[in-house]
Amino acid sequence: MARTGVFVCWCGSNIGGVVDCAAIAAQAATFPGVAYSVDYKYLCSEPGQNLIIQAVREHRLDRVVVAACSPRLHEETFRKVLVRAGLNAYLVEMANIREHCTWVHGAEKERAQQKAVDLVRRAVAKANRLEPLFESSIPVTKRCLIVGGGIAGIQAALDVADAGQEVLLVEREPTIGGNMVKLDKTFPTLDCSACISTPKMVAVANHPNIRLYTYAEVEKLTGYIGNFEVTIRQKARYVDHDRCTGCGTCWEKCPCKVPAEFDVGLGHRKAIYIPFPQAVPNKPVIDREHCRYFTSGKCRVCAKVCPTQAIDYGQEEKIFTERVGAVVVATGFGLFDWSRVYGEYGYGRYPDVITGLQFERLVNAAGPTGGKILRPSDGNIPRTVVFIKCVGSRDEAKGRNYCSRICCMYTAKHALQVLEKVPGARVYVFYMDVRAAGKGYEEFFQRAVREGAVYIRGRVSKIFRDGRRLVVRGVDTLLGRPVEVDADLVVLATAVEPAAGAAETARLLGVNTDRDGFFQEAHPKLRPVETHTGGVFLAGACQAPKDIPDTVAQASGAAAKVVGLLSRDQLSTSPMIARVNEVLCTGCFLCVPVCPYRALAPKKISERLPGHPLREREVVTVNAGLCQGCGACNAICRAGAIEVRGFTNEQLLAEVDALCL
C-alpha cells in the first residue's frame, strides 16, 4: 500500500478565505492510503517546500498530493520538491482547489468545502496508483530550417547564423526580400525600405553559415524536435546559376512582356527576369508560363544573346533532403482581395482605385513610374487623393473581424508622401479609428494631420465614376452627415491576411492555425514564438498582422529559441507520453490518423504463442520525440492497448470511482 501525504495550501486568502483548509486536511487523513496530512499557508514558498520534504522523510511518504492551484502553475515546482526529497518527480498529484473551486465558488462556501474535499479524494485515489516515470534523451541535429525569406526569415537566419549555427533558408519566389523590399519608405522614421533591407539580403547571401534555396518550397517535413528531415523542391529556373553572371542581356532582349508581380500589376517584366534590380540571387529565372519558347516552341532569343551559355531549357526541378534540428516558419502575409467583395468600390473595375501596396510601387523611385505619383488610367498627376482604411479589416460582413494593425500608419505615411510629392494636393482619409500605438507612431500620425491630411471619421458607402474622376461618397460620423469627395485617385488599405497557401504550409509543418488562418503560437503571452509542435517556431506576420519592428523583434526572439535548442547536444523528453501494449494491439491503426502530432506509425513484430509457430504481425509504435501525451490515441483504441503514462486507465478509473462511488 502506498504511503501518501496530503498537503493543503491556503494560498493566503485565495483558498483559505473560502474553505477551511485544516478541516480538508483532517478529512483527507481518513482516505485510503493517506499516511499524513497537513495544511499550510503558502506551500510554494521556501518554508512550505521544506515542510513537504521534511514530512516525506519523517513519515516515509512515497506519494504526495498537493491541494493548491492549477498544475499548469506549480506542478513543475512540486516535482522538483519531490526530487529534493529523494522521490521520483512524477509521484506528485495536484488537486486544483483554487481555479476549480474557491475562485469560482466563493459565494457558496459550504458547497465549495465539499467540492474541495472531493477533489482531494480524487487526487489521493490517483496518487496511490502513480508509478515512477523516467525521462529519456534524444540527440540534436545542429542545423536550422527557415521557411520564408522575407524580413522575418532574413533576420532569423542572420541571428541564428551569427550564433554559429548552420541555416537553410527556403524562399518560394526567385528572390528573397518578401514584401518589405516592395515598400518605399517605412513609418515612422521614413527611412527607405530597400536601403535598410537589401544590405541584409546581401548579408544572407554572403554568410558562410547560410545556404539559400530560392524558387524552392518545402515539400515534406518529418521527424521531431532536434531530428527533422526536410524535403525541399527547387523549381526549374532554366538558367544555370553557376554560369550566369547576371549581366542582364537576356531580360533586355526578351520579347515577352508580362505584368510584374513585384509591381502588383502596375508595371511589366520580361518572361526571363529578376524581380527587381537588387534581387538576391541577382540572376534570372524563366517564367515558363509566359516564355515564348515554352509556349510556341520558337524564340530562344535569351539563349542566343547569353554570353556564357547559361540558358538551359532542359533544366529540371531539383529535390534536396536535409536533416535539421529546428524549424522557423516565417511565411509572411498576403493581402485581402477586395475586388471580389467590395462591389461598392467597383469590384476592381476602376483603374484609379488601387491598394496601398500598389501605391507603394507608384511612389517608389524604383517603381513603374520612377517614383512619380501618377494615375494608372491616364498617367496624370492626381490632385485629390482619397484613402479608405479598414477595407476588409474590422468588417464582419465582407472581410475579416480583426484589425490589420499596419494600415493606420502606412496610410498616414502615404498621405504625407502625396502632400510632399504633389504640391497643392488635397488628401482625405476615411477612417474608423486611428490606432497609432507604437514608438513615435502617434506623433507621426499627428504630423500627417498637421501637414494637411483631412481625416474624416466614417465609412465610404460607394465610389462612382464622374467622367474621368471618381466621386467618393461616405458619411462623416462626427458631423453626422453624408459627404462626397471628388477624387482623382483612391487608395484602399486592404486587410492583412495569411499568405497564399498558409493552410497547406500549416499542414505540412504540423502547425495549428487560429480562426483567421494565422499560425497559432503556443501561448499568446508567454510563449509567443513557439508552436505546439516542439522545435517549430514562428516569426513575423504568419502568426498575426505585424509591422516591421515587431516582425524583426519576433524573428530575433525565434532565433534565440533556436540557438538555445541547438546549443544542446541532447534533449530530455517528457515521459508522460503514450505507451503501446503490443500484446493487446490488434494493428487496426485507427489511432494513426487521430494523432495530431503524427507520432504513431505501424511496425512489424514477431511473436511466438504457445503451440503456434513464430509469426510476424504489425502493431503501432510511438515516436517519443513527437508524442505530446494528448491521449487522443488512448480514447480511440478499441483494444485498450494504448495508455498515456501518468494517465493510465487504472489511474483514471480510480479517480472516477473516488468521485462517483
Binding site: G346, R349, K462, I463, F464, R465, D466
Partner: protein, 291 residues
Amino acid sequence: MRFSYYAGCSLHATAREFDLSTRALCSRLGIELAEIPDWSCCGATAAHSTSHLLGVALAVRNLALAEAQGRDDVLVPCAACYHRLVTAKKEMAENPRVREQVLKVVGHKFTGQVRVRSLLEVLAALDTEHLGSRVVRPLGDLRVACYYGCLLVKPPAVTGFDDPEHPQSMDRLVRITGAEPLDWDYKTECCGAALGVANEQVALKLVRDILEAALQAGADCLVCACPLCQSNLDARQSHVNRAYGTSLKLPVMYFTQLLGLAFGIGERELGLDTLFVDPRPALAYGSAKKA
C-alpha cells in the same frame, strides 16, 4: 411554365403598362400566369413602416392563398411587392414568435413551401438562345441604362439572385434585344420614390443624379423593373427641370416593354403610349442609327 401571379396594386393602376407588357411577354414565351384569387396588399411602405406584424401578415396572406392555388412559384413583377413577399417568407422561417402571431392573424394554412420569384429573375434564368430566337425587331444600337433600384437585389441575404452592387441580369436581357446595356454606377442607387410626398426635395435630387448619370454614360433610355422607380423617374422629370433648371427628357421604360418591342409586340399592347416621356423618338433614333 406556370406561375401564381401576384401583380399587386401598382400594376392594376399607375403601372398598368408593366402588367400589360408582362402579360404580353409571358404569353409569347409560353409562361402561364394565374392571378392569385382574392389577393390583397403586399404590406409595402405604409404597412411595414408602421407595424412589423402587419407588414409580414399582409404578405403571408397572399403567399398562403398562392399555396392554396396549388402552384409552386409566385411570380412578382413589382420590386416592392417582391421584396415584401421574400422578406416575409424569410421572417416566417427564421422567427418562430412572429410566425405564430402571423398564422393566428392570417387564419390560413401556410407551410412556407411556396417560392417567391421576381419576374426579372425568372426571365433572366431563361435560355439566352431561346429568348434570342424570339427577337424579330432588333433594337439596333440603342444605348440602355439598366436601373435596378434598391429593392430588387438588396439585401443579398433576402433577394440573392443577382449581385447587390453590380447586378447583371437586366443587362443580359437587354443585350438579347440587340440594344447596348451601359456600364454605369447608379444601377442600385435609391431613387427617392418613398420620399416623393413627404420630402420632395430629397427625391428631386436623387432623380436628377440618376438621370444625369445615365445621360452622362450615353443612355438613349433607361429601363427599370419597379413601378415606384418608373413613375418617380418618369413623371418627376418636369419637376426636376423646374427645380434645377435642367432640361432632362430621358425615356424611362419597363424592361418588359423593351423586350416586348424586340419580340415584335405592338406599342399599344405594351402600353408604350402611357408613359410621361415619350420613348418613341428615342426608339426610332436607335433604329435609325442602325439603318
